[in-house]
């Protein structure tokens, strides 16, 4: 399935931190806004998706039954195939793989994939309001919340602490600080990012501890917003744009264990399985990758990805970060749009669109002030959900290229 589909359009709405007096948009409005931007980029109309594919990432704000069909109704599109992924930060990339498979099978020629969420205005996260019903359901939740596991900072704090324990002589807070500082530097060059004022490693180190060892400047900020992309057959892509960005390879796994099911090593992720698959399909090697767009909700997650992708060995992420220049001008550019860490995360489920869209932006040479010179191959991650007392639930690796 190498280079059988290409991304021809993409869009990202402005993000919002819901300042007083600001117009509040709903998920439906963000979806239409993001789709509108993607359609304009591709020179297409929503009606081009009648009889084609429509993909909708699960949002925490969505409690409607038949939600993806309700979105089709709300947008006035009559798709042949609906996709709905509920893999959190891996939803956008999982749907890209599903879309590619459906195009490969000849079921559809093109798919409009979208996601939006409004975590700052839905009851599930807004302070003082009840948890959404979806969060209170399920055995999984019943054995976390009541035990005092207070969300993602605690869950990633546990992974982070275990990593520090296993590699204590090889990892320093400064390494993670460098990752955080890099995302902010890139955000300062991206008008669409939400936090754009650069900070130093010293400022990172003095930011307060929230869930030891996780600091304030380790944490991804929530925003309201929406994103979309359009994927088509290569034949259609070539008619639409002179800059199609090809999906060269991919790998996906959910509920990955490193070691035993009962007591695995939680410092590993499923990327150690998905990356070799994706590289093999793409026919490229690590040294061919010009830009890396990791899933970056915490710097430790980025560092673990560097290792599990095989850019360096397990435990050597600190040294790798120290030796490399992670900026767009450097020898290992990451999170060139500021990532989610500084760009903002539109809910736990939608940030996964960002690595895809930034990879495509870079390969089209449209990165503006943050453009990686001559970038032709990019790697991007989807990373979704947290398992009980382990690492994450879904890992997706994608390799994109500007040439087929």
């Amino acid at each position: 399935m190498r280079a059988e589909v290409a991304i021809v359009g993409f869009g990202r709405t402005p993000y919002s931190r819901v300042k007083p007096g600001e117009r509040i948009y709903t998920v439906d409005e963000y979806l239409a806004w993001a789709a509108d931007l993607a359609l304009a980029k591709a020179g297409m109309s929503k009606n081009d998706f009648d009889g084609q594919g429509l993909g909708v990432a699960h949002a925490e704000a969505a409690h409607t039954v038949n939600w993806s069909a309700a979105v089709a109704e709300s947008l006035g599109i009559s798709p042949r195939v609906l996709l709905r992924a509920d893999q959190g930060g891996a939803s956008a990339s999982a749907m890209l793989i599903r879309a590619a498979a459906m195009i490969h099978a000849g079921i559809v020629d093109r798919v409009l994939v979208m996601g939006a969420d409004t975590p700052l205005t839905i009851p599930s996260i807004a302070p003082g309001l009840p948890l959404s019903p979806e969060r209170t359901r399920g055995v999984f939740w019943d054995f976390q919340g009541p035990f005092g596991v207070m969300g993602a900072n605690a869950q990633f704090g546990l992974v982070h602490a275990r990593y520090l324990h296993q590699h204590k002589n090889r990892i320093k807070p400064e390494h993670l600080g460098k990752i955080a500082v890099t995302t902010r530097y890139h955000a300062s060059l991206n008008p669409g990012a939400i936090y754009r004022k650069p900070f130093t490693v010293e400022e990172y180190l003095s930011s307060r501890i929230l869930s030891d060892p996780v600091r304030l400047l380790d944490c991804v900020p929530m925003v309201n917003g929406g994103l979309a992309y359009i994927v088509t057959s290569v034949e259609t892509a070539k008619k639409l744009t002179d800059k199609p960005i090809y999906l060269l390879g991919f790998g996906e796994v959910s509920n990955y264990y490193h070691g035993s099911r009962n007591q695995p090593d939680i410092t590993y992720t499923g990327f150690e399985q998905t990356v070799p698959e994706a590289l093999k399909m793409a026919g490229v090697q690590h040294k061919d990758i010009d830009v890396f767009e990791p899933y970056d909700d915490y710097p430790m997650v980025v560092l673990i990805q560097m290792e599990d992708y095989g850019f360096c060995k397990k435990g050597e992420g600190g040294k790798f970060v120290e030796e490399r220049d992670l900026t767009f001008k450097g020898d290992f550019p990451i999170s060139t749009d500021g990532g989610q860490l500084s760009g903002g995360q539109p809910g736990g489920a939608i940030g996964g669109f960002m690595p895809i869209i930034e990879a495509v932006t870079q390969l089209r040479g449209e990165g503006g002030e943050r453009q990686v010179k001559g970038a032709s191959i990019a790697a991007a991650s989807g990373f979704g959900g947290m398992t009980y007392a382990r690492n994450n639930r879904s890992c997706v690796t994608m390799i994109f290229g500007s040439e087929a």
């Binding site: 054995f143 009541p146 993602a152 546990l158 929230l210 869930s211 030891d212 060892p213 009962n262």
Partner: protein, 139 residues
């Protein structure tokens, strides 16, 4: 719904999970043991995650284990304001001696004394008429 809108969330107790909560109320730690391969399953599962057998028996497990990882929360996250009085909350992943892994709060220990590899013992704190939560303290 079994939930406090503000405060400490309570579990929704079902026929599947009641044995755990009831046993905890009796100061016992129980888990599902597969009657085919002997694997301990936790949190409660619909079949054995190791072999797929639906025959799972609730058995008492030794309330001892070792801290696999820990994180100390200094602020309340999510919307659980009632945890504020408990701060700092030391949340651990505990590897039980009998072979399962679970989340557990470490009590009776200062954050700077808690460490990975520490031996811990379960104790139980009532959360309702029919349920208690296992927590851990240094063994």
């Amino acid at each position: 719904m079994a939930q406090t809108p503000q405060g400490k969330p309570l579990p929704q107790i079902t026929d599947q999970t009641r044995p755990f909560w009831s046993a905890a109320k009796q100061r016992k730690l129980v888990m599902q043991k597969c009657d085919r391969c002997g694997t301990l399953n936790f949190y409660p599962k619909p079949w054995c995650v190791e072999c797929g057998n639906r025959g799972l028996d609730w058995v008492e497990v030794k309330p001892y284990g070792t801290i696999y990882s820990l994180t100390t929360a200094y602020v309340v996250m999510m919307n659980y304001p009632d945890w504020k009085d408990d701060l700092p909350v030391i949340m651990c992943i505990i590897d039980l001696d009998d072979g399962a892994r679970m989340y557990g709060q470490l009590t009776d220990c200062a954050p700077d004394k808690a460490h990975i590899g520490m031996r811990v013992q379960a104790h139980f704190v009532d959360i309702s008429e029919e349920a208690a939560i296992p927590k851990f303290r240094p063994a």
